[in-house]
């Protein structure tokens, strides 16, 4: 997972994003879809780092996504606070939340961590409704860069795409750092990683924080695109699951995964929702079916399949890794 291949992949990702940009200029509908895809890609990139890379399956990204969306919208409505600042505040709030949640739950084993994180957005949704914030509609101020509001979705796409590109490069960079190595080791075998001198709790927390920031940014931008905030949408478990789906389809633990996944999943979801609007929930159903297929069609589980797929992809992209000699592998003992 090292070497120049990862930066190459990041560049390919940028190329794809540029392509997306071109598509976005063709029509407002396409621009909106592209913007959505980029936002979700950003969200997925964060999830990729914590769960694709470092290991613990976090199902609560929606918490940070929703929180930032909520805060930036609320502050804009109540105090006319520019969304840039609003989003920044959202990021800080998400970080704090992530620290608290992370410290409490990262000690739990995989399953319970997943459940714990899945529950957070639900609780936040409940709390939001309790305080009577059922729906927040952002006032329309017309085209204004200062208010981060535009008539077309293209500028949103550009913002999200730039952030996503940054995320891609960050992921590539991560692979060359000690933190990145530690993440992989923790994912492979947490106990052995601990025994090799890795403070696993601390590094899992770092991954969790990074993911929180990305989800938060994604939520902030999404909030600008979607004028109306509702707790159900913001804190829906499907939000977190969507990020998961994108990464799984695109390739977990790889640089390009989020981009490819988002490019495939989001348009598919949107199209399904539009063409079958009389059958509510069909797009979620489709997601579920795809998840099932993905979960089943890897005999050894999702990881090794994807890891091997990306090894081959890496070779295609020209990484200098010598072919391993065919070694005699004896079956390991019990």
């Amino acid at each position: 997972m090292t070497g120049t291949g990862s930066y190459r992949a990041a560049l390919v990702g940028c190329a794809l994003l540029c392509l997306g940009g071109l598509i976005a200029t063709t029509s407002e509908t396409n621009a909106r879809m592209a913007a959505m895809a980029a936002v979700w890609g950003l969200m997925a990139a964060g999830w990729n780092i914590v769960s694709g890379y470092a290991g613990p399956l976090s199902l609560g990204q929606a918490a940070f996504f929703g929180l930032t969306w909520f805060l930036s919208t609320l502050l804009f409505i109540e105090y006319d606070l520019t969304p840039y600042l609003g989003i920044a505040i959202g990021v800080v709030a998400s970080l704090l939340l992530a620290v608290v949640i992370g410290l409490a739950t990262l000690r739990l084993s995989g399953l319970y961590f997943a459940l714990a994180t899945l529950t957070i957005p639900l609780i936040m949704g409940t709390l939001t409704r309790y305080f009577d914030w059922f729906e927040l509609t952002r006032p329309y101020v017309g085209e204004s860069a200062r208010h981060f509001q535009f008539n077309s979705s293209l500028p949103y796409y550009v913002t999200a795409a730039v952030l996503l590109a940054a995320a891609l490069f960050f992921t590539a960079y991560l692979q060359r750092t000690r933190m990145g190595r530690y993440f992989v080791a923790i994912r492979e075998n947490e106990r052995a990683a601990e025994a090799s001198g890795i403070p696993t709790l601390r590094y899992k927390l770092y991954a969790f924080l990074i993911a929180a920031v990305m989800a938060s940014l994604a939520g902030g931008i999404y909030g600008q695109i979607a004028f109306v905030f509702t707790p159900e949408d913001a804190y829906s478990p499907v939000t977190s699951i969507q990020a998961l789906l994108i990464v799984l389809i695109g390739g977990a633990g790889t640089v390009l995964g989020p981009v490819i996944g988002a490019a495939l999943v989001i348009p598919a979801g949107q199209l399904t929702a539009e063409h079958f609007s009389h059958l509510p929930g069909l797009d979620h159903l489709a997601y579920a079916v795809v998840l099932l297929i993905v979960a089943f069609f890897s005999r050894e589980g999702l990881y090794p399949l994807l890891a091997r797929g990306t090894e081959r992809l890496g070779q295609l992209l020209g990484r200098r890794r010598p072919r391993a000699p065919a070694a005699v592998v004896r079956k390991e003992g019990p």
């Binding site: 399956l57 199902l59 410290l103 409490a104 739950t105 000690r107 739990l108 084993s109 995989g110 399953l111 319970y112 997943a114 459940l115 714990a116 899945l118 529950t119 639900l122 609780i123 409940t126 709390l127 409704r129 309790y130 947490e190 106990r191 601990e194 696993t200 709790l201 478990p237 499907v238 699951i241 998961l244 799984l248 059958l279 509510p280 929930g281 069909l282 979620h284 159903l285 997601y287 579920a288 079916v289 998840l291 099932l292 993905v294 979960a295 089943f296 890897s298 005999r299 050894e300 589980g301 999702l302 990881y303």
Partner: protein, 292 residues
């Protein structure tokens, strides 16, 4: 009134204890992670609703029917999904059962619509009064059923050959195989048992609570809190934890707001975890310090 609230807590909590029990079994025996457990409860509620709509019989009488339906569904799921997933590891299980949860939820949305529906029964609106304390009949009967379910499960696990096989398998899968136990069948039974218990919970709940496509997620908190709070592997702990959770819910409804009940439970639980990660009766899990 505090006493009333506490008693209600026990009544409510008993049901959650059964929910936790079902989860413990599937987790402890098969080590299978089932994120759709809450959705199966919801499914049971919908089935209860369906059977009641068709027959207009007393919903409590329909309970066996619901439980059997769930057991059958569990059996089918086992053959189709669970068997293959058992070997694929935690994460595949989590993802696949999440997908199952989504499927159930959206199927409910498509078939029954988004509005919550409920059953009308004499039991939900009448109560027994003892010394100034009101015991809602539906909840009282629910408690009785929960106790029967607990005792029945205990009896099944500790006094029958099948139970012995299940316990042996949960302790040591390989040794059990060497003793000639058919692991797949045991897993199948354990899963069916777990799903049946989910059916019991659903059948009890529908009498007093409405059901909607989003209901399942509220069970999620409980499904997770109760076994961990009680301590993994401890049936008594699960019962106690269920009751505690029930009391927390009732008390927060009483003194705060009904909407906050799960938030309170969750916050209390997180706080508890920070102090004692292994739960109330859990075995000391400084075993692998990194993960509980």
């Amino acid at each position: 009134m505090l006493v009333q609230a506490l008693i209600n807590g026990v009544l409510v909590g008993a049901v959650w204890a059964v929910l936790g029990l079902g989860k413990q079994i599937v987790l402890g025996v098969i080590h299978f992670v089932n994120f759709a457990h809450g959705h199966l409860v919801m499914l049971a509620m919908y089935l209860g609703l369906l059977y009641w709509t068709i027959t207009h019989a007393d919903p409590f009488l329909l309970l066996p029917l619901v439980v059997v339906s769930l057991a059958l569904i569990g059996w089918v799921l086992d053959r189709v999904m669970v068997r293959r997933l058992v070997d694929l590891g935690d994460r595949s299980q989590m993802i696949a059962t999440l997908a199952l949860a989504l499927i159930i939820e959206n199927a409910a949305l498509l078939i029954a619509g988004p509005e919550p529906r409920s059953v009308r029964s004499w039991a939900s609106s009448s109560a027994l009064e003892i010394g100034g304390v009101f015991l809602n009949w539906a909840q009282l009967i629910g408690l009785g059923i929960a106790v029967i379910a607990f005792v029945g499960t205990w009896w099944l696990l500790n006094r029958t050959p099948l139970g012995a096989m299940i316990r042996a398998t949960s302790q040591n899968r390989e040794s059990a195989q060497y003793m000639g136990i058919d692991i797949s069948r045991v897993y199948g039974y354990a899963f069916a048992l777990s799903v049946s218990l989910a059916g019991v919970v659903g059948a009890i709940l529908i009498v007093s609570t409405p059901v909607g496509p989003q209901s399942a997620w509220s069970f999620l908190v409980l499904m997770f809190v109760v076994p961990v709070l009680g301590g993994l592997g401890s049936i008594g702990g699960t019962a106690l934890a269920g009751v505690i959770v029930g009391m927390l819910q009732v008390l927060s409804t009483e003194y705060l707001d009904i909407q906050l009940q799960n938030a309170v439970v969750y916050a209390a639980f997180l706080a508890f975890l920070l102090v004692r990660p292994q739960g109330i009766f859990g075995r000391s899990t400084d075993q692998y310090r990194v993960s509980v």
